[in-house]
């Protein structure tokens, strides 16, 4: 029998695969700007309406009198091929929505933490979160106009980053710069995955 080069029956398609990466950082660090810079169209926005029953054990101080609340997430799409799509999700900025981060982080290949050198401390919670979860991440310092340029070594020390976590400068408004951040993340995520595999393999 000769079915030609492919084992697949005629007309059968490769199952499409959707992947996601997250973009986190403090309020105003440029998350939505970066999402928009790499996406094939303008960033989209989804909203989750949370009801009392949907709220977990997380700290919701400040909203306890409301029975519902709405959290918006901006995201974009990059179609890699007919059967491979990468989604880039900006994480909801409010720290009290950690439980939504949990939903987003499940299955994510990795995360970009955007840092603004004028407010470096704003990205500490994101770094802590991804460290705690074991999600591979990179830190991208968004170079705002007017912000003093710090050396990357200074930033690394100030953030107390592990030496293997990539740290790079970017301009979230620029497509190429933002794309390079994602490439750095994917390379780091692949490396992390490989070294964890070896560790599991006992070598």
């Amino acid at each position: 029998m000769d079915y030609g080069r492919s084992e697949r029956p005629a007309g059968a398609r490769v199952l499409p695969t959707a992947l996601k990466v997250l973009v986190a950082g403090g309020f105003g660090a440029g998350k939505t700007t970066l999402v928009g810079a790499v996406s094939e169209s303008r960033p989209l926005r989804t909203e989750e309406v949370l009801t009392e029953t949907g709220i977990g054990v997380d700290d919701l101080s400040g909203v306890e009198r409301k029975s519902t609340t709405t959290v918006a997430m901006d995201f974009g799409r990059i179609t890699i091929s007919d059967d491979l799509v990468l989604y880039v999700f900006g994480t909801p900025g409010q720290d009290r929505f950690w439980f939504l981060w949990d939903e987003l982080a499940v299955g994510a290949l990795g995360a970009v933490v955007l840092a603004d050198t004028r407010r470096l401390a704003d990205c500490f919670p994101s770094i802590d979160y991804f460290e705690g979860r074991g999600t591979p991440f990179v830190v991208a310092v968004n170079c705002f106009e007017g912000a003093r340029r710090f050396g990357l070594d200074e930033v690394r020390t100030a953030l107390d980053l592990d030496p293997e976590v990539p740290l790079l400068l970017c301009d979230a408004r620029q497509r190429e710069s933002s794309r390079n951040v994602l490439i750095t993340l994917l390379e780091h995520a692949m490396k992390t995955r490989n070294s964890r595999r070896r560790a599991v393999g006992g070598r």
Partner: protein, 128 residues
């Protein structure tokens, strides 16, 4: 929480519900889909060119079938129809139950641990 089914049971709403009335009205008060879990990046593709003739569907159901002629994620469907994700999940459950859309759940993280996928994404990004 009041579950699926009985359309006569409209007493799910309380005084604080406010702006959530419309999304929940779209689902006739149901908070959970009849089938499926629907991750934000589950991919939805319509199985028919339209669902206008189908009895018992609302305009939002019909809109989803029209929108997913091209494969879309659950998040995209929600964003493009300007509906909360939870509402879209319920509507998608109805459509799956009627075989009007096909949903491809994302691979398990273990399945993503395939180096060729990372390489494909990296190459795709470089080509942008």
């Amino acid at each position: 929480m009041a579950a699926d089914g009985d359309p006569a049971d409209e007493q799910w709403v309380d005084d604080h519900a406010g702006p959530v009335v419309r999304p929940y009205a779209v689902t006739r008060g149901r908070a959970r889909p009849v089938a499926g879990s629907f991750d934000l990046i589950s991919l939805v593709t319509a199985t028919r060119t339209n669902a206008v003739e189908e009895a018992g569907l609302g305009p939002e159901h019909v809109a989803i079938v029209a929108l997913t002629q091209r494969m879309q994620s659950v998040a995209e469907v929600a964003a493009r129809l300007d509906l909360p994700v939870g509402t879209v999940r319920v509507l998608l459950g109805d459509l799956v139950a009627r075989d009007l859309v096909r949903v491809q759940e994302p691979r398990e993280p273990a399945g993503v641990n395939d180096e060729s996928i990372y390489e494909a994404v990296i190459n795709g990004l470089r080509a942008l």
